[in-house]
Amino acid sequence: MYSTKYVKAKDIDDAATIMASAEDGKFLAGGMTLIPTLKQRLANPDCLVDLSACGLSAIADDGSAIRVGAMTRHVEVAESALVQKTIPAVADLAGHIGDRQVRNCGTIGGSLANNDPAACYPAALLALGGTVHTQSRSIAAEDYFDGMFETTLEEDEVIREVSLPKPEKAAYVKFPNPASRYAMVGVFVAKFADGVRVAVTGAGEDGVFRASDLEAALDANFSADAIADGTVSADGLMSDIHASAEYRAHLIGEMTRRAVTACG
């Protein structure tokens, strides 16, 4: 890696101030993507602003939603009694990200800020209709994701916490990429009183997206049988050496059926 400056921010405002003074700074959350990127010399930031001392890791019940601090590690979400009780699908999702080492370092805020098109958390945020809270504003999931590795966060904007509404039922089923174990297709199905929301990660050319055809089918009939073959179009889906767009389209249908079944 290139040499760089490392600063541990005291709190979220301090982090933003340091970032504003850096020429090309990067926030360091869990570092599970950033550190390998640095090691391969694919990024050359002049400053790393470590968020680990900003007091951003807590999980709280907020009535109709749960609030998860940005620096909460995957292992903490997976093992949280509150999450397991209120949105078990999210605990399950967190418990299957990466491997044990990744889950002990990686954070929900880091994952959402990076918006890797194959990451799991974006599917949860979008399907649950959650909200990203920064030091200055709240951004609805619909307005947050802005294409592959892009979000609507400003340069010096730091995620403080994420609120995730509690659904009636939800499940996340992922088909891992055989090599990387990232989601090659991941489908988060959430059933609320006012309708079903389905978010798909790992497959879209623009990153995570809501599958409106699947939502309509499940609104009409919340059962695996409601998803016929060919419901999902291959248009706009990624194609690579592991999966063609057509195969991904098929897997989205299949993973959705499995998620609906898992909802019980």
Partner: protein, 794 residues
């Protein structure tokens, strides 16, 4: 075997002596070695697959912080250095010699694959070398990359003067007799075979530390090698023109090789060269990306296979036409792997009267391809064992019974195949029977039906393989174009107190030689295993030996140790006879004691050792003092391990995911020295073969970029991919070495790929799928099901 030593001698599953140092972090790998004042070298590699180098501007880089020197192909040419050589060169079918285009250790004027070495940057730290490399301005004039094996022959020359991008065009067997078999055949079976390209992925990447001593004008190279003596010979005599005695090569602990660390690559030679030129020690350690882009890849064949059967379904002829992708430059054993290690195995375990094969070695703008665990034999086994299944299906026979019908019968040994080899011994039916019993073959259809109830497709597949190991009889090798001998050396050095060092020319990089070889000593000499040290990997300490590959270390190296031990015992008997005042013929050696037959007069092994070094009462008129014996053993034949592997898979047709449900194998490796070590070797081999069959693929795009150049895209087999592997053995002892051993290191990787694919095709056959290429990834399986269903609907 001597009484009292069975717990440590031949046949005992002794725990591996070497594991303690690995488990407590005391292993000593090349990257652990640092020399005073060492420089770090970073190699600037070509980002393009095929281009002329218009210019290299290194001025800015040379001024960068910490940079000591930057060397390029011009410096290599100015110093008149040679490149890596090809160690075994078969003759073309028209009698001409194959093409051996030069392979400069730093590219001179042209780059031929992504990763080709363009410049070597030497700096005080690795970071400084990497930063300086970014400042080198190389102008390339790009040409269209040639990556497709089928069309490469029709493309422009990658090496000037090498026509049709073909290194060689080789044949073996009797074409007329084979044609005749097809003319008369009742059934002809045709199969298109693709053997996918894989990347070795040893856990430890390659590394080198070279140091030139200006005092005694001698080089020392520490490196990740499977054969340090051969590395010394090649670098010294063929690349850098260094007298062999002035170059010491040490391969310390090495973390896996699988073939990829047999060869001498440019990096190691550059380190040695620069250590004198710059008067500083030089260190290089590959990172994983460099390993993907630089280590020789494996396999990558396309074959057209045709099998002729008579009306009784007996095989009468086999024809195999193969294109082998050898990559941009010839690696050391690139030419022998698809020829004499491949074509000669095409008879498998079957009695096939007529065989003909033609193999063309093709140059492409990809990483060099060379021997990878099994080396040619997995490719031969895969095409033959897939063809056996297709043939059985075509004639409506059970695959097991079709194989059995065509087995070489046990009373036919020694058996001369139609492709040069003579199998000394074997008995294939009991191996098949035992494996079928282990997996409960006869009740498979019940299990298939049960899986079907759960929406899963279950399949069973087998492979009845043979391999030629114990490489190799030097005279045969020489007659077939080999430029090396393939004997092995052993020195047994008994210390005055009776402890023993065995200096072997083989090299252990995971195989457990420290244990297995020590067991040979315990067995022969009756000493405790703690009294035995195995020394390997240092050209200053061991006798010249050929290293470890081709499942040769025990069959060849172990036999050399056994013969040296016999010499020690023979000398000990004469010393004992003198001390006990008896005739030589009256001395017997057993359980570590020299005894006058029929008496209780005896001398312990330790007493004899002491007498050899403190020779006060010693037969000086007959013997020299000391107790150290050397043996160079050249095998009389290859060894022929064989066996049956059977895989059972379950496939989820909704996703295409293949799950291994059961694995059994019954192998014949001849006598076993350490059954636990053997089982471990079989496990590892199966895992690598399953990796090739289901997960691994080195994928290039049309521009010659390696798409699977990291673990994000290159899928390795994982522990949770496997059921508990059931491994058993039967023994027919090798007839031509003292130990009756055959070798076990490559068997799993050779046997397993066709068993997996046969099982996958069997599982999918109810859906109309008749073939699938490796690796059978979820996408490929799903697509095969879709195509079959589309076809059925038409």
């Amino acid at each position: 075997m001597p009484e009292g030593t069975v717990k440590q001698g031949i046949g005992a599953s002794v725990r591996r002596k070497e594991d303690k140092r690995f488990l407590i972090g005391k292993g000593n790998y090349t990257d652990d070695i640092n020399r005073a004042g060492q420089l770090h070298v970073y190699f600037l590699r070509s980002p393009v697959a095929f281009a002329d180098i218009v210019s290299i501007d290194k001025q800015k880089a040379e001024k960068a912080s910490g940079v000591v020197a930057i060397l390029t192909g011009e410096d290599v040419a100015a110093d008149n250095l040679g490149g890596p050589i090809c160690g075994w060169v078969p003759t073309n079918k028209d009698g001409s010699a194959p093409s051996e285009p030069p392979h400069p250790i730093l590219a001179n004027g042209r780059v031929r694959y992504v990763g080709d070495h363009v410049a070597a940057v030497f700096a005080e730290t690795l970071e400084q070398a990497m930063s300086a490399a970014e400042l080198i301005d190389v102008t390339y004039s790009e040409m269209p990359a040639i990556t497709d094996l089928k069309t490469a022959m029709d493309k422009p020359q990658i090496h000037d003067g090498m026509e049709n991008n073909t290194y060689f065009d080789w044949e073996l067997g009797d074409e007329a007799a084979t044609n005749d078999a097809f003319d008369k055949a009742a059934t002809i079976v045709k199969v298109d075979i693709r053997n996918n390209r894989v990347i070795p992925n040893a856990m430890e990447p390659r590394a080198a530390v070279a140091d030139y001593d200006t005092g005694d004008e001698r080089y020392t190279l520490f490196t990740t090698s499977q054969n340090p003596q051969l590395t010394r010979l090649v670098i010294g005599a063929f690349m850098l023109n260094i007298p062999e005695s002035k170059l010491r090569v040490v391969a310390p602990d090495v973390g896996g090789g699988f073939g990829s660390k047999i060869y001498v690559y440019p990096e190691e030679a550059v380190c040695v060269w620069a250590s004198k030129k710059l008067r500083r020690a030089v260190k290089w350690t590959a990172d994983r990306t460099q390993a993907f882009l630089g280590d020789a890849h494996g396999r990558d064949h396309i074959s057209d296979v045709k099998l002729a059967l008579d009306k009784n379904n007996r095989i009468t002829g086999l024809r195999v036409d193969t294109l082998a992708n050898l990559g941009a430059y010839l690696s050391a054993f690139a030419m022998v792997t698809p020829t004499y290690l491949h074509g000669t195995l095409l008879s498998g375990v079957y009695d096939i009267p007529a065989i003909y094969t033609n193999v063309k070695g093709i140059c492409t703008n990809t990483v060099n391809v060379d021997a990878y665990r099994g080396a040619g034999r997995p490719e031969a086994t895969y095409l033959l064992e897939r063809t056996m299944d297709v043939a059985a299906k075509q004639v409506g026979m059970d695959p097991a019974e079709f194989r059995r019908l065509n087995f070489i019968p046990k009373d036919a040994f020694p058996y001369q195949t139609a492709v040069a080899l003579q199998y000394d011994v074997g008995d294939y039916e009991p191996l098949l029977d035992r494996a079928m019993a282990m997996i409960d073959y006869k009740n498979f259809e019940n299990r298939r039906a049960k899986s079907a109830k759960n929406g899963k497709c279950r399949g069973i597949g087998m492979s009845t393989y043979i391999e030629a190991c114990g490489i190799a009889p030097s005279a045969v090798v020489g007659a077939l174009g080999g430029r090396v001998g393939l004997y092995e050396s052993a020195v047994v050095r008994v210390d005055p107190t009776g402890t023993i060092s065995v200096l072997t020319g083989t090299h252990s990089h995971g195989q457990g030689h420290d244990t297995t070889f020590a067991q040979l000593v315990c067995d022969k000499l009756g000493v405790d295993i703690e009294a035995v040290e195995i020394v390997h990997g240092d050209s200053d300490r061991t006798a010249f030996g050929m290293g470890t590959y081709g499942s040769r270390s025990l069959a060849v190296g172990g036999t050399a140790i056994s013969k040296a031990l016999d010499k020690v015992i023979a000398k000990g008997k004469i010393i004992a006879a003198h001390m006990l005042e008896a005739a030589d013929a009256d001395i017997e050696f057993k359980d570590g004691k020299f005894t006058v037959t029929g008496t209780d007069r005896e001398k312990s092994f330790g007493e004899i050792a002491l007498s050899a070094y403190v020779p006060h009462n010693f037969p000086h008129d007959r013997l020299e003092p000391g107790l150290e014996e050397t043996s160079f053993y050249d095998p009389l034949n290859f060894t022929y391990p064989s066996g049956t592997h059977i895989a059972e898979v379950e496939i989820d047709p909704a996703t295409g995911v293949v799950e291994l449900m059961d694995w059994v194998c019954c192998d014949d490796f001849g006598n076993l020295i350490n059954p636990m070590v053997v089982e471990g070797q079989v496990h590892g081999g199966i895992a690598q073969g399953v990796g090739q069959a289901l997960y691994e693929e080195a994928a290039y795009n049309d521009n010659g970029q390696l798409l699977s150049a990291s673990y994000m895209d290159y899928c390795m087999p994982r522990a949770d991919h496997f059921p508990s592997l059931k491994v058993e053995n039967l023994v027919t002892a090798c007839t031509h070495n003292d130990l009756g051993v055959k070798g076990c290191g490559e068997a799993g990787a050779i046997a397993s790929p066709p068993a997996v694919i046969n099982a996958v095709v069997d599982a999918l056959s109810p859906l109309g799928v008749t073939d699938i290429t490796m690796p059978a990834t979820p996408q490929k399986v799903w697509q095969a099901i879709q195509s079959a269903q589309t076809k059925a609907a038409e």
